[in-house]
Symmetry: C2
Subunit: 196 residues, 2 copies
Amino acid sequence: MSTLSKTSDEILASARVLIMSSGYNGFSYADIAEVVGIRKASIHHHFPSKVDLVRTLVARYREDAQEGLSSLERNVQDPLEILQLYAGHWAKCIEDASRPFCVCALLASELPSLPPEVAAEVTAFFRFISSWLTSVMERGAKAGTLNLTSTREIEAEAFMASVHGAMLSARAYGRPDVFAAVLAPTLHRLSGTGIQ
Amino acid sequence: MSTLSKTSDEILASARVLIMSSGYNGFSYADIAEVVGIRKASIHHHFPSKVDLVRTLVARYREDAQEGLSSLERNVQDPLEILQLYAGHWAKCIEDASRPFCVCALLASELPSLPPEVAAEVTAFFRFISSWLTSVMERGAKAGTLNLTSTREIEAEAFMASVHGAMLSARAYGRPDVFAAVLAPTLHRLSGTGIQ
DNA sequence: GATGGGCTTCCTACCGGAAGGTAGGTATGG
DNA sequence: CCATACCTACCTTCCGGTAGGAAGCCCATC
């Protein structure tokens, strides 16, 4: 939770972009150095090793997500609307290519080859999103505004899986619009409308 | 479609295992050489470059899938049962760790950094699975045995996304059983039972 | 039926470059 | 004065890939 220097932030930001496109083994200190405009060795001053860098990056990524979702919940009460806005957020990020993929979804696919410290952070991220979605499902079920057919936990996992799978398809086809198209029926079903 | 030598097959098989766990940038010729029991340079005799190797591997992967799904359709007619068996096949592969992840799903996540030839094969694989699932949905809709709420195409994409997302979650948690758990409600919904 | 191409398969040895990381120095600013 | 931030220069290891040769095998020719 410590405040890092401006350069550290730039290093993390460029690493995030690079990881989002190629994963852990797909970027190097040299790549970051070129983007940030400093020398390769200088990065080691801020992050002694690649593991340090990515562990910090993923931890921050989770903190940012926690903050973002908290603020979302402060502004919106309806569980269905929360899910729609969550999906819409990703749809926008993918469509404008600002965040074309979830860092942790990409890292999770490479999990067996990740350094254990990084792998642990990735697992923690999944657990966080899952438990947050579970709480949203819980509220929706109690309020009767969400149409659930399984336990809250499973519905949460299924929703998360749809989001990640939709990202993957959008990337595989090179068609950002696929994300929203794939998520539409899921949201439609959760809304309860259109089911005879 | 050519028949390759025994050594070529072993190279492809070990590369497949390595890619399934770490992706394109996560394995090297040295890794394969160690598994197969030949020298690194000998691999270049069978596959001049890494791109050749992986392009061949993915093309074969798609051919194998085509064969497997054809044989599945020869033995089973009911669309719902086909989807259940498809999901069950993956559940088994993940659970016994024989094929813990789809090669093309992993490569798709790294798509922006893949050599174009490999990327094209990965996209082709997605298109193939998608169009196959679409045809299954089509038949299920016509026969009235599948409960669809969107177009066949979108239902197919959504199903594929669920499968890929479920794989990812199973890997992220290190819990193979998550795959089947996440897919259960989707299959349940498609079966039409349990919806009031 | 030996002989010698020619092909396949694998080898040793090597290349240039990129990887992550280290050592040690120099500005700068509180 | 000293910590921070960044530098040049260098290290080892690994990467994908190449050169050139040795062994085995098929098979046509003398």
